[in-house]
């Protein structure tokens, strides 16, 4: 009934110490491993036959592949395709972890800021590293838009640098907050059913139909949000990578 309880990390068994910190195999880890297994199985088993006329599973596997490939190609160009496995991994990993949260007794790995922040920082440093290796110091042209009058240039550059540095924050908090808020809302409405039943008896259980209908609607919305946030996370990754590939504004 506690809407926060669902975000609790449960230590399933300890694995040892890493410095001062004790490392556990947790419910979060279990769902991450499950995501790896499911996604790999889905793609490998789906396309194992390699039929020219695909079955359902093969169609779905090819669809995800084409979907991410189109997303990357349209935002970062043909050169961006070298990051295809990277973007595909990020998108499908986040999508599956978001979706797991909607399964009853599931756990939403992406509702923890540490996970989304790590992924966002990974993207941030990939962009920074690749941009510097590829373009050297020309990469910093990214902060100097063309055709801006000289007297406001310092201010523009400062804003550009600030917005570049704040990218991982917005990138990670957007996903984290959406997942968190949606699941809290679901649990709050679910809690209403129990409260009504407990407080009003039979009438309350009948009245519980209303929050239950709300949960059904919210679950549908949350599925959309889970997909959309994974998509947003991936497309922002593509856009940031495009900056590393083509730093000229």
């Amino acid at each position: 009934m506690d809407p926060i309880h669902q975000f609790q990390i449960v230590n399933l068994f300890p694995l040892g110490k890493f410095g001062h910190a004790e490392i556990f195999f947790t419910n979060s880890a279990a769902f991450m491993v499950l995501a790896v297994v499911l996604l790999t199985g889905f793609l490998v088993i789906g396309t194992a036959g390699g039929r020219a006329v695909p079955g359902r599973l093969q169609s779905a596997a090819e669809l995800t592949y084409e979907f991410v490939a189109d997303m990357l190609r349209s935002t970062a160009g043909a050169e961006g395709m070298r990051f295809f496995p990277y973007v595909f991994t990020i998108f499908m990993f986040v999508l599956l972890l978001n979706m797991f949260g909607l399964i009853p007794f599931g756990f939403t790995v992406t509702s923890h800021i540490i996970i989304t922040a790590t992924l966002a920082l990974l993207v941030f440093f990939t962009v920074l590293g690749y941009g510097l290796i590829r373009h050297g110091l020309h990469f910093f042209n990214l902060f100097v838009p063309k055709g801006v009058p000289v007297y406001i240039l310092p201010m523009i550059v400062a804003i550009e640098i600030l917005s570049f540095i704040s990218r991982p924050i917005s990138h990670s908090v957007r996903l984290f907050a959406n997942m968190l808020a949606g699941h809290i809302a679901l649990k709050v409405f679910a809690g209403f059913i129990i409260l009504l039943g407990g407080a009003l008896g039979a009438i309350g259980w009948v009245g519980g139909v209303l929050p239950f209908a709300m949960i059904v609607a919210l679950t549908a919305l949350e599925m959309l949000v889970a997909f959309l946030q994974a998509y947003v996370f991936a497309i922002l990754t593509c856009i940031y990578l495009n900056d590393a590939i083509h730093p000229g504004h």
Binding site: Q8, A35, L39, V44, T47, Y65, F88, T89, H112, L119
Partner: protein
């Protein structure tokens, strides 16, 4: 109430953390980070080395097969068009040859008929000349007969008139004289 005890038990129990809000409980961070790194790297490796190349291969094979089929269809179409052109050419050739044979035959026929015509004409002319010759001979014979008849008639007439028959020589001279006039 039971609810409030559940509340405290829920947040306190698993990690025994200080932060009330699980996503901000730093004690859970190391475990989460370790597993995120393990699973993400593993997933990336599986995707990059195994799953995605396999999917790409399937899609590529299909596109290649479609392209091959199109090329094959194109080739067969060209082949059939070639065959059609060859057939039409053969037909035109045969028609031209038939025309040539017909023309030749017609000319040969015309020449033969011309020759026959000439032959016939010559034969007829020969016959005509022969007939004319016969006519001339007959006429000459008839003219000779006329002289004989005239001499006989003259002799008879003179005999009746004067009672004596003139001599042949005199009669013949007289008739020839008369015929000359």
């Amino acid at each position: 109430m039971a609810e409030s005890t559940a509340h405290t038990a829920g947040t306190e129990a698993p990690s025994g953390g200080h932060g009330g809000f699980p996503p901000f409980n730093p004690q859970t961070f190391p475990s989460q980070l370790v597993w995120l790194v393990i699973t993400f790297v593993l997933l990336y490796a599986l995707m990059a080395k195994w799953a995605l190349p396999q999917v790409a291969r399937v899609i590529e094979n299909r596109q290649k097969r479609i392209a091959d089929d199109f090329a094959e269809a194109e080739r067969l179409k060209a082949q059939s068009e070639e065959a059609l052109a060859a057939y039409e050419k053969a037909l035109a050739d045969a028609r031209a040859r038939a025309q040539a044979i017909a023309t030749e035959e017609r000319e040969r026929e015309a020449a033969a008929s011309e020759a026959r015509h000439k032959e016939l004409e010559r034969a007829l002319n020969a016959k005509l000349a022969e007939a004319e010759k016969t006519i001339a001979a007959t006429k000459q014979a008839a003219m000779a007969n006329v002289r004989g008849i005239a001499e006989d008639a003259t002799r008879t007439i003179v005999e009746r008139l004067i009672g004596t028959a003139p001599g042949d020589k005199v009669v013949a001279d007289a008739v020839a004289d008369a015929l000359k006039r």
